[in-house]
């Protein structure tokens, strides 16, 4: 028995030796290609998606995995600006819900965030509340709720949700939302401080670029061109593909008088993301440069984009109104802005409705909405300029002078078209007193 065992041992050792040789002989072909592809830079988000996909191929019944994949797809849609991921995100969340309906708050949060992304804010609010019934301390659900309530114009509700989010999960997402909440209440220094905290929390380059871009926008909003330029440059250093950061840089360049630089930025970013709002800004700048034919091309492109968007069942009254204003159709702008106002009471909607009414010559009505826009505390240059011109049309010269002075005082570079207009109007009023 013992001898047999010894022999078995020797045999096993021999076999192991043979197999080791075989390993050495066969390995290189199997591993070499993989080793070569490693050199490519790995995007953490793409990596997260790939892992989630592989995991679900192995474990298709993992409902939590499906909602995590949905969240990752949403994040990718935000970062890459590719709306093609929205349907995938939705299907992943629905699959998660199909596997487990009861107590599946994560999937509801994904669906809520998706509704926000599609500007269906009422649906987002309802999904977030459903998720909070599952888990009253779900920070992500508070995030979705805060976004939805902010956009719907429920400022108090939004502040409450942001506060709950800060309490349950302080971090990048909560600070960024709190910053926007403060900005909407006109508390710009505190908003800036909180966005800086968010930036300190950012690990992922996409997140860092996002925070830097927000800081840039805040700096630009108070006329700090140098600070804004630095933030946008830092954002682009973190993520060279960030479209929002490039748009910020374009605005700074235009404000600094570098029109060719601004135009080339806009040409590049609208090629990558041809959304109506960016195309309208690009057209505005082309008009300033005297290139009206190209400006018209951009506007027809914006119309086509908008047409495709509505053909797919989307609704975005703000973009429709802005496009109608840019193409000289004030009546259509009023209709679109009013429809949006009936859906939600965000200050931006009030401002757009006021400006549309002004363009349509209905200044008395416009005044109500222009005042409504600034009632929450936020008072950026654009709101002030719109209110000032409406007041001027109504003959309220003192108020108009004050608003126009405020617009130019807050950010003299706020718009390449409206800035000079504001200056002319103010001069006609005898200057700021």
């Amino acid at each position: 028995m013992r001898r047999t065992l010894i022999r078995l041992g020797i045999a096993a050792a021999l076999a192991a030796a043979v197999l080791t040789v075989a390993t050495v002989a066969f390995r290189p072909t199997a591993e070499a290609p993989a080793a070569r592809t490693v050199a490519r830079q790995v995007d953490p988000l793409a990596d997260r998606v790939a892992r989630a996909q592989q995991h679900l191929r192995d474990v298709p019944g993992d409902w939590a995995g499906w909602s995590a994949l949905g969240a990752a797809y949403l994040e990718q849609a935000r970062v890459t600006a590719d709306p093609g991921r929205y349907p995938q995100a939705e299907q992943a969340a629905r699959k998660s819900l199909a596997l487990r309906r009861a107590g599946n708050g994560d999937a509801l949060v994904v669906l809520g965030a998706l509704a926000n992304a599609r500007h269906d804010f009422a649906a987002a609010r309802d999904q977030a509340r459903a998720a909070l019934r599952v888990d009253p301390a779900d920070a992500d659900a508070y995030g979705v709720l805060a976004d939805a309530l902010t956009q719907l114009g429920d400022a108090r509700g939004a502040t409450g949700a942001v506060q709950r989010m800060l309490d349950t999960k302080p971090g990048l997402a909560a600070y960024a939302r709190a910053s926007y909440d403060l900005e909407l209440r006109g508390r710009i220094p505190e908003a800036t401080a909180l966005m800086r905290r968010a930036l300190d929390d950012a690990v992922d380059p996409h997140d860092a670029a996002f925070c830097r871009t927000q800081l840039g926008d805040l700096a630009f909003g108070r006329g700090d061109l140098r600070g804004a330029a630095d933030h946008y440059a830092a954002a682009l250093a973190a993520d060279s593909t960030s479209i929002a950061a490039q748009r910020g840089r374009a605005r700074v360049r235009a404000a600094q008088g570098d029109l060719p630089g601004a135009l080339s930025d806009y040409a590049d970013l609208t090629a990558r993301l041809p959304g109506p709002s960016y195309l309208i800004e690009y057209a505005e700048l082309l008009n300033v440069a005297g290139r009206t034919a190209q400006a018209d091309e951009q506007l027809s492109l914006a119309s086509a984009a908008q047409q495709l968007f509505t053909a797919n069942g989307g609704q975005d009254g703000l973009a429709t109104a802005a496009l109608a204003l840019a193409t000289g159709r004030p009546a259509d702008a009023v209709t679109a802005a009013r429809a949006e106002w009936n859906r939600r009471h965000h200050p931006d909607v009030a401002d757009t409705l006021a400006w549309s009414l002004h363009a349509a010559g209905r200044d008395a009505e416009a005044l109500t909405y222009a005042k409504r826009a600034i009632s929450g505390g936020a008072h950026p240059s654009a709101y002030a300029y719109h209110l000032g011109l409406i007041e001027l049309s109504l003959g309220y010269h003192d108020e108009a002078r004050a608003e126009l002075t405020r617009a130019l005082g807050t950010n003299p570079y706020f718009s390449p078209v409206d800035g000079p207009n504001a200056r002319r109007a103010l001069a006609a009023l005898g200057g700021s007193r």
């Binding site: 596997l99 995030g143 902010t150 968007f309 797919n312």
Partner: protein, 469 residues
């Protein structure tokens, strides 16, 4: 999730990818003296409209043939400039032929467009480095393929287009839009066959499609709402899956057959093998599952291949053991009894021979040691869902199912052998064929101990090498 509300992007689903995407496909063909590239772009509605001023050079609103041809030539030039291939370090200079640009009706009264170009360059290099940065900032499908004609290539690129050259975009929830921009192609030899494809397949569960379907069923049952009926159903399915799994090639069935043929196995032996398989398989899957779910450093595939190698080593050890005892029994006088017709005697004899039990245990271990990937998947899935108990139950069912099949095969072998033996001993006249067979088995049996032992060793080596390679 920092999903602050972002500006909306127009048009969500007009183009299959999206209506501002530029989708690219490049097909490389490596020939002995040159490389050819078929470069295509499928341009969605918005970018087609964006490009229109560049195409419609006379600005009359329509695209004449001449305008389209001129644009195609210019754009293929840009594609060629951006499609960088270096051959052993030197950048290839493309000759562009057959530029084409056509406009296809799209959604909402808009158009999409398709650009096609053929690039070619002479080269005999052994390494080609591909780097496509045509329209690199644009969202879209980016696909590369490579085939060889008259040479052999080695590359991670697939040979076939998954989108049928940008005409049908397969989308499922678990695949992202391909974004392949770079690749390395090694060129060598003069063989004609196109080289391996690198398409990632579902690696774990192979086998007939109904088996895969049953697997999916078990997985979704394990993830769903649990009732006693569901658990019972899942258990039964797992049992069936295990049985079917053991019926697929592998699992030491060949070894078992050889072992039984060489040693005249008994029913008890067949049962013993079954029992060992159940135990070792259940234990193995549980151990591997525990390792994989607690350690992130271990890759499942790697672990499985090592276990495969280990089971190969085991079989080799059993084979060598058989070889050793066979040679010894030839030399000893008892060996003659072994070749005698008395079954009872030879079996009893076999059973008492040292290493007999050990050999059986070895075969059972080898059969059960390599965890069935599907059982592992179910276990990991159940652990992931916080239902470890259910996972263990299902794995046990797998083991029992596998043991069932293997025991059945063993019993079949035992019975077949006896039938043949009986025919031969009784020497009935009708048993001409049986006689022939018996003579054959007899002859095999005579040289069997050595031959079968060698066979077992070979099979074991094969198992090990296959597991590792």
């Amino acid at each position: 999730m920092i999903q602050l509300v972002v500006p909306l992007v127009a048009g969500v689903l007009a183009h299959p990818i999206n209506n501002f995407s530029i989708n690219q496909y490049a097909e490389l063909t490596v020939r002995p003296d040159r490389v050819e590239v078929l470069a295509l772009a499928d341009v969605a509605e918005i970018p087609t409209l964006q490009e229109k001023p560049a195409v419609d050079t006379d600005h009359n609103g329509t695209l004449s043939d001449a305008e389209r041809a001129a644009y195609a030539t210019a754009e293929c030039g840009r594609y060629a400039d951006a499609f960088v291939v270096t051959a052993d370090g030197d950048r290839l200079t493309w000759t562009v032929t057959a530029p084409g640009y056509r406009v296809v009706p799209g959604v909402g009264g808009l158009s999409t467009s398709r650009l096609s170009c053929t690039l070619a360059a002479p080269t005999t290099a052994s390494t080609l480095q591909v780097d496509n940065h045509y329209r690199s900032g644009r969202v879209g499908w980016r696909e590369l393929t490579a085939t060889a004609d008259g040479v052999r290539v080695e590359t991670t690129l697939p040979a076939q287009s998954v989108s049928d050259r940008l005409t049908a975009y397969p989308r499922d929830l678990l695949t992202s839009v391909p974004d392949v921009r770079t690749a390395t192609i090694r060129v060598g030899g003069a063989a004609g066959a196109p080289a391996a494809t690198g398409a990632p397949e579902r690696p774990a569960v192979a086998g007939p499609s109904w088996l895969t379907a049953a697997q999916t069923r078990v997985e979704s049952l394990a993830g769903g709402h649990l009732t006693p009926v569901v658990v019972a159903l899942a258990f039964l399915l797992a049992l069936l899956l295990g049985a079917a799994h053991a019926a697929l090639p592998g699992h030491g069935k060949t070894v078992m057959a050889a072992y039984f043929a060489g040693r005249r196995g008994r029913i008890r032996d067949a049962l013993a093998v079954g029992g060992t398989v159940t135990l070792s398989h259940t234990g193995g899957v549980l151990a591997v599952g525990l390792l994989l779910s607690t350690s992130t450093a271990l890759a499942g595939e790697r672990l499985l291949s090592w276990l495969g190698a280990l089971s190969g080593v085991l079989v080799v050890a059993v084979g060598v053991g058989m070889l050793v005892s066979a040679r010894r029994s030839r030399r000893s006088p008892e060996g003659h009894h072994h070749h005698g017709r008395s079954h009872g005697h030879s079996h009893a004899h076999l059973y008492q021979r040292p290493g007999g039990r050990l050999g059986l245990a070895g075969i059972g271990l080898a059969g059960g040691l390599v965890p069935s990937p599907s059982a592992l998947v179910v276990l990991l899935g159940a652990i992931g869902l916080g239902r470890a108990g259910l996972g263990v139950l299902l794995v046990l069912a797998y083991g029992i199912g596998m043991a069932g099949t293997l025991t059945a095969v063993g019993l079949l072998l035992v019975v077949a052998q006896r039938k043949l033996g009986d025919l031969a001993t009784r020497g009935y006249r009708a048993a001409r064929l049986g006689g022939l067979l018996t003579r054959l088995t007899g002859r095999v049996s005579a040289g069997a101990p050595t031959a079968t032992a060698a066979l077992v060793v070979l099979v074991g080596l094969g198992m090990g090498v296959r597991a590792i390679a």
